[in-house]
């Protein structure tokens, strides 16, 4: 699905990713954990195509395509989805109008017919139920006046609508209470199929009680320094990131 090889990226001349390698196959859930400043959100931004970052070395193969050569919108149309850590409020643009535009641009890119208004609304009803998002929120302006939990649920709702191959969830658990966390995790689990995959970026183990990963990676100083199964997350929770630091600096 995605193969990241020796990825180096910097912002304002400061190198953040320093040779990151990661391979994710269809049907898998990978968790990336790490201390603050390790490069977790940078990885998410670089994959989505944020232009503030400069890629200085490495490659990313996304289902046979050179991801780094694609524009942000084409990455999305190819099936990459980034659930934002801080979803943006866009006053005046309704959620449904935004999603219909997004869906139809993707369909056009893939050479498909636009979705009919009727099918679209049926889809909105079905998918908003997955994250228990009030249908009224779907017709409001994108994220405007949404609570922290509603914003994150809206991210997963969008993910459900766009049906990506690979979803990158950037600290989706941050700022969520336990109920919202459960709803969001449940949404992600419901959307899981043998044909898609997710990368769950998180600082805390708690989200992984709900979204059970096949692999857990530790990102430290711009590189994956350790890979294990879900037990690694528990160990990290117990010993803290200082344990990694000590091991790395030893």
């Amino acid at each position: 699905m995605i193969k990241i090889t020796n990825l180096h990226a910097s912002i304002n001349g400061k190198e953040i990713l320093k040779g990151l390698n990661l391979e994710v196959n269809a049907g898998e859930v990978h968790a990336i954990m790490g201390p603050n400043g390790a490069g977790k959100s940078t990885l998410a931004s670089v994959l989505a195509g944020r232009e503030d970052y400069e890629i200085t070395a490495g490659s990313v193969d996304f289902d046979g395509k050179d991801l780094l050569e694609l524009s942000t919108e084409d990455r999305a149309r190819e099936g990459l989805f980034l659930a934002f850590q801080y979803p943006v409020e866009i006053p005046g643009v309704s959620n449904v109008n935004f999603l219909r535009t997004a869906l139809n641009e993707k369909r056009e890119y893939l050479g498909e017919e636009p979705i009919s208004a009727k099918d679209f609304m049926a889809m909105v009803r079905e998918k908003s139920a997955i994250v228990e998002l009030d249908a009224k929120l779907a017709s409001r302006a994108v994220n405007e006046g949404f609570s922290g939990g509603e914003k994150k649920r809206n991210e997963i709702f969008q993910m459900a609508m766009l049906e990506p191959k690979l979803a990158v969830l950037d600290e989706t658990d941050s700022g969520l209470d336990i109920d919202a966390l459960r709803i969001v995790a449940n949404g992600v689990n419901t959307l899981k199929t043998p044909n898609n995959a997710s990368i769950v970026i998180t600082h805390y183990q708690r989200l992984l009680d709900y979204i059970v990963p096949d692999f857990v990676h530790v990102l430290y100083d711009g590189k994956i320094v350790m890979t294990g199964t879900k037990e690694l997350a528990l160990e990290l929770e117990e010993k803290g990131y200082d344990w990694i630091k000590e091991r790395m600096e030893a």
Partner: protein
């Protein structure tokens, strides 16, 4: 032989203009000419023209007026059902079947003296060279069943109009004033409009400025509102080389409500200035002002919004907002709110923001698969929506069509 000296740009501008023959304006001719003899076009040293260079106006060769036929004019109407007034050069065409309570006549048909306070050289020009004007009166307790659309189509020449609208007690009407110009013409027009809104009248005026990009349009509106009246004026500027709108509302009766909305969507070398004044003279009134604009390429816009709250005007609520997006690196926007508050028990607020398109929002949309052009359009439409939605539905439709043609915006439903 006549020589044109450097300090008489106005004299050069007036060449070829014929002093007005309107009976109603004769008493002010001496005063107007004296004003023109001793004043020139304001320079940028003048506070109200700080960002506006009138040299362009003085140097422009205007094309000669050409008469367009009725079918050509008719093509500009917004709605076939409305009461339609056509203004084309010195020609006015008034609708024949008017409902009870509505009267539409012309200044040229009236003998009562009409005087205008000469605030600047354009007022003097207007008084000296006025071609004609529409006199609209809506009787007390009359609700118009259909809007009145005033369709002004310029096709060369320099024209001055003085209109007067009066709305009786408890009258209700919607007026659309749409201003166009024939392609390949280069025209100037100055419109001075006075509006008297009586007690409890509810009036909405939608102004659509969509002349061609060699057109100069000056418009001045003076409104006086009596108690419990509701008055709205929405000013939408889409095209025109040079557009200047000056709206002054005197809120003279208690419990009156005033709405001023404006939108300007500019590109090329357009210059558009909106000067507004809301003068709260009495207590217990509310005013809401919201202007939004976009300047692309080398366009420049000016917004100057003045709100006076006089000592007697306690319990005034006055809100003003001006937000602009500068798209082009060579585009500019100057925004200046001016609040003068002399009463102590009032709620007044103003906000002025000028910036670029929100890059985070743009990235968010693109990260969902929306192409950059479509994402920009979506954000710009969203930004303008609030003020565009203040217009009557028919005017909104026309606005959307014109905007999508001019800016290649696809209409989102």
């Amino acid at each position: 032989m006549k020589t044109t000296t450097l300090d008489s740009k106005v004299a050069a501008f007036c060449e070829g203009l014929i002093p007005t023959q309107l009976t109603a304006l004769q008493t002010q001719q001496g005063q107007a000419q004296a004003f023109l003899d001793s004043n020139d076009f304001p320079t940028t040293r003048h506070e109200r023209y700080k960002y506006t260079r009138l040299a362009k106006l003085a140097n422009t060769e205007f094309s000669a007026f050409k008469l367009s036929d009725a079918a050509t004019l008719q093509a500009y109407q917004l709605d076939a059902d409305a009461y339609t007034v056509y203004i084309h050069g010195a020609q006015f065409e008034l609708p024949s079947d008017l409902p009870k309570g509505l009267s539409l006549t012309l200044i040229s048909q009236q003998n009562d003296a009409m005087t205008t306070e000469l605030e600047d050289v354009f007022d003097a020009l207007s008084s000296r060279y006025c071609h004609d004007g529409l006199v609209l009166h809506l009787a007390d307790n009359t609700t118009l069943d259909k809007p009145i659309q005033i369709i002004q189509v310029d096709n060369g020449g320099k024209f001055f109009y003085k209109h007067h609208f009066s709305f009786g007690k408890n009258a209700e009407a919607k007026i659309w004033y749409a201003h166009f110009a024939q392609q390949a013409s280069c025209s100037f027009s100055h419109t001075h409009l006075t509006i008297d809104v009586q007690e409890e009248a509810r009036i909405q005026i939608d102004k659509l400025q969509a002349a061609n990009d060699t057109h100069f349009a000056f418009a001045k509106e003076h409104i006086i509102q009596a108690q419990r009246s509701h008055f709205t004026i929405n000013t939408y500027t889409l095209s025109g080389a040079f557009v200047r709108n000056e709206v002054t509302v005197a809120v003279a009766g208690q419990h009156a409500e005033t709405h001023l909305n404006g939108a300007y969507l500019l590109k090329g070398q357009q210059h558009v200035a909106n000067y507004t004044t809301i003068d709260h003279q009495v207590p217990n009134c509310e005013s809401f002002e919201n202007y939004r604009g976009i300047a692309d390429e080398k366009a420049s816009a000016v917004f100057n919004g003045k709100v006076f709250v006089r000592p007697d005007a306690q319990k005034t609520n006055a809100y003003q907002s001006n937000a602009s997006i500068v798209l082009g690196p060579d585009a500019s926007i100057n925004s200046k709110p001016e609040l003068e508050i002399y009463a102590d028990d009032v709620k007044c607020s103003h906000g002025s923001t000028t910036g670029q398109l929100d890059e985070n929002a743009l990235f968010y949309l693109r990260a969902r698969g929306i192409g950059e052009t479509a994402a920009r359009t979506l954000l710009l439409q969203a930004f303008m929506a609030e003020v565009l939605e203040a217009a009557s539905p028919v005017v909104q439709t026309v606005l959307q069509q014109k905007i999508s043609q001019r800016f290649h915006w696809e209409i989102q439903e």
